[in-house]
């Protein structure tokens, strides 16, 4: 198991290096180059020339790349052209919100998706089955940002049941420790702040979780239908095991293997969706920062955020691979 993990970690190195080359080249290829990225679109030619000299942009490319890499390893991605603050600082400030949001979305998608997919398969051919199939098809066909707008319009604007923007009501003066607002509220025993932060997660979380939900329902359903016809389930029945034992030990356990793989792949979808959902709900996480950076042409922020998110994504997938090894003994041995 340890060897498996170490090998997977080693395999990451070329990918991370390639990623850094790609994003280095990206910033270089942008009209105006890194100087403009750092100074903003309205920088004068003189300022750009001064910047280039200052940061060694007149040096050969490989020297520049090595510098970029050296700084990236120290988590230095330059400063935002818009706010002038270090990119890393902005990222760390905003990441907790996005983590809270994606966690909520994932828990929602898994918590609803697996039972629903399982029930649909158990009642194969029933109205519940058809409804969940149609629903899951619709779920992947709806543009995320449109769904987000609809939810906001209906439940925040029209009905007023849930907050429709931000992460916390302005009037609540909460103590900040970790920047995970719900967690902060719990840690400081400011229960209403925690609850308020939680309600702010519900609508964007559901919007964000819909696509993963649809996919998880479909995979679970298909997988349960497959497993039910497996020979080992017949064996389990031939042994006269109670129906509940057959289902728990022999059907559900095996049916969840492919579901586990998809859950890992959903992380990418979630990070993509977060950009759209967060901007609809003005959520103030990493996603809305990227949205703002696109409009402000704040390339340093874009480069830094995308690079960090890509690394996060790669690491999450590594974790999923490892946990898959725990679930399926056949992978562990190989």
């Amino acid at each position: 198991m340890l060897r498996f993990v170490v090998r997977r970690l080693l395999q990451l190195i070329p990918i991370l290096l390639g990623l850094s080359v790609l994003l280095f080249a990206w910033l270089r290829a942008l009209p105006g180059g890194p100087a403009q990225a750092a100074l903003g679109e309205r920088a004068t030619p003189e300022a750009i020339a001064r910047y280039n000299e200052l940061f060694g942009l007149d040096q050969p490319l490989y020297v520049q790349y090595l510098r970029f890499l050296g700084r990236a390893v120290q988590l230095d991605f330059g400063n935002s052209a818009r706010t002038g603050r270090p990119v890393t600082e902005e990222f760390l400030e905003r990441m907790p919100g996005t983590i809270e949001l994606t966690l909520f979305a994932m828990v929602f998608a898994i918590g609803v998706g697996i039972p629903l997919g399982y029930l649909a398969a158990r009642r194969h051919g029933s109205w519940l089955d058809s409804a969940s199939v149609i629903g899951s098809l619709l779920g992947v066909a709806i543009p995320v940002f449109f769904l987000a707008y609809l939810l906001r319009l209906l439940f925040a604007v029209e009905l007023g049941w849930l907050p429709g923007s931000g992460r916390q009501e302005v009037r609540i003066d909460a103590t900040r420790i970790t920047n995970f607002y719900v967690l902060d509220g719990l840690l400081t025993r400011e229960w209403d702040a925690a609850w308020d932060a939680f309600t702010h997660l519900v609508l964007p979380g559901i919007a964000l979780g819909t696509i993963p939900l649809a996919i998880i329902v479909r995979i679970t359903r298909a997988s349960v239908l497959d497993v039910v016809n497996e020979d080992y389930v017949r064996t389990a029945n031939a042994k006269g095991l109670a129906t509940s034992t057959v289902r728990r030990r022999h059907v559900i356990r095996n049916a969840l293997l492919p579901v586990a793989t998809t859950i890992g792949l959903q992380t990418g979808l979630l990070l993509s969706g977060a950009v759209l959902t967060e901007s609809v709900f003005a959520f103030g996480g990493v996603g809305s920062a990227i949205f703002d950076a696109i409009f402000a042409r704040d390339f340093a922020v874009l480069q830094g955020f995308i690079l960090i998110l890509a690394v996060v994504y790669v690491l999450v997938n590594l974790l999923v691979d490892i946990s898959y090894g725990l679930l399926d003994p056949r992978v562990r041995v190989r």
């Binding site: 042994k239 006269g240 399926d328 003994p329």
Partner: protein, 356 residues
């Protein structure tokens, strides 16, 4: 390799059948398709300690028969008729709960493909102990101890270690032994083995058959052997029922059947097996066509289209009546209008070959 130290008097040798199958029919009904009768009026019985073979090509209904006996056919789209009695208890139409109590405890089954029949994500040990825990009032510890014992008895070396391993870590023969151990865990009265050696290497096949034979002899279990392999029949079975297109077409004791097959189909099966003691270069005589080339029993003999001995009355049936399964000498039954004939003296009667 004795399954359990059974006192001799505990073994039921009364001869009263453990399993009685009477006019069993299984019909598959799919939406938008013609109902398909896979098993059509099959009757046979198995006594304690007896081994009965159900023989035929794939698709003849032998596996469906075994699943119907075990109550393992899906409830939806399948209609089971007739009667199946285990020690006198009627199983057809019995509630699922009652069947689950019997399965694994009083009747058990060994399947064809040991790899796919074992759950890949559950250790062997759990898969053995779960039968014991389900049917016997045992602590987990006692169940594990018994499971170790069982694996040892079916000839798996180092059973304590094997219990913790997963199916993919075992060899094919080991897996089948493990499956047999599971089936025998509660010392069932009836064991059904559905092609238990087909997926295994030849050398392993012989070991598994030997194991099964010992188990039957020692514990008095009734064994139903489902196979297309006449070698298995010759080595193991007391009585043989040959099935074709959902019906039994010939029943006989093993020696009788191999010495004088009466149904041309049985004769064909025997003739298509190469023989070591045959003349070198002597051609094999395969049966023409495949099991798909059948006619419905209502229109004559289902085998007639492939039969070398078929005559006109085999194909044009007298309105409504099927070829009957009739008495054909002591211990024999036959469904054929024009069976293979043998000279009076039994000495020269090796038209198709004796037991290997």
């Amino acid at each position: 390799m004795i399954i359990e130290d059974v006192p001799p008097d505990a073994v039921d040798r009364s001869g009263r059948p453990v399993l009685e199958v009477d006019e069993l029919t299984v019909t598959f009904r799919r939406r938008g398709e013609q109902p398909m009768r896979a098993v059509d009026g099959v009757s046979f019985a198995v006594a304690p300690g007896e081994t009965v073979g159900l023989v035929g090509e794939s698709g003849c209904g032998k596996s469906v028969t075994s699943l119907a006996v075990m109550g393992l056919l899906p409830r939806r789209g399948v209609q089971v008729g007739g009667s199946v009695r285990l020690d006198g208890r009627e199983l057809v139409g019995a509630p699922d709960r009652a069947l689950r109590e019997l399965r694994g405890a009083d009747m058990a089954m060994v399947f064809q493909d040991p790899l796919s029949s074992l759950n890949p994500t559950v250790p062997i040990g759990t898969q053995v102990t779960e039968v014991l825990l389900e049917h016997r009032d045992l602590s987990r510890k006692d169940a594990t101890a018994q499971a170790t014992d069982l694996l040892d008895r079916v000839g798996i070396p180092d059973p304590a270690r094997r219990l913790k391993e997963y199916p993919h870590q075992l060899s094919g023969g080991m897996r089948q032994r493990a499956l047999i151990a599971m089936a025998l865990a509660c010392r069932p009265r009836l064991l059904i083995a559905d092609e238990p050696t087909t997926a295994l290497d030849v050398t392993i096949q012989a070991q598994i058959l030997e194991l099964l034979r010992e188990l039957v002899v020692d514990s008095g279990t009734a064994l139903v052997m489902i196979t297309h392999d006449l070698g298995v029949v010759a080595g193991l079975c007391d009585r043989v029922h040959v099935m074709y297109s959902g019906k039994i077409i010939e029943s006989a004791d093993r020696h009788e059947l191999f010495a004088r097959p009466r149904q041309p189909y049985t004769g064909g099966l025997l003739a298509s097996v190469p023989r070591l003691d045959g003349v070198r270069g002597a051609p094999l005589h395969p049966i023409r066509g495949s099991a798909r080339d059948v006619i419905p029993w209502a229109e004559g003999c289902a085998f007639a289209p492939r039969c070398d001995h078929a005559q006109d009355d085999c194909l044009t049936e007298v309105a409504g009546s099927t070829v009957p399964l009739e008495y054909d000498g002591p211990g024999r039954e036959l469904r054929c209008r024009h069976p293979l004939e043998y000279p009076r003296s039994p000495a020269g009667a090796t038209a198709a070959g004796a037991a290997r």
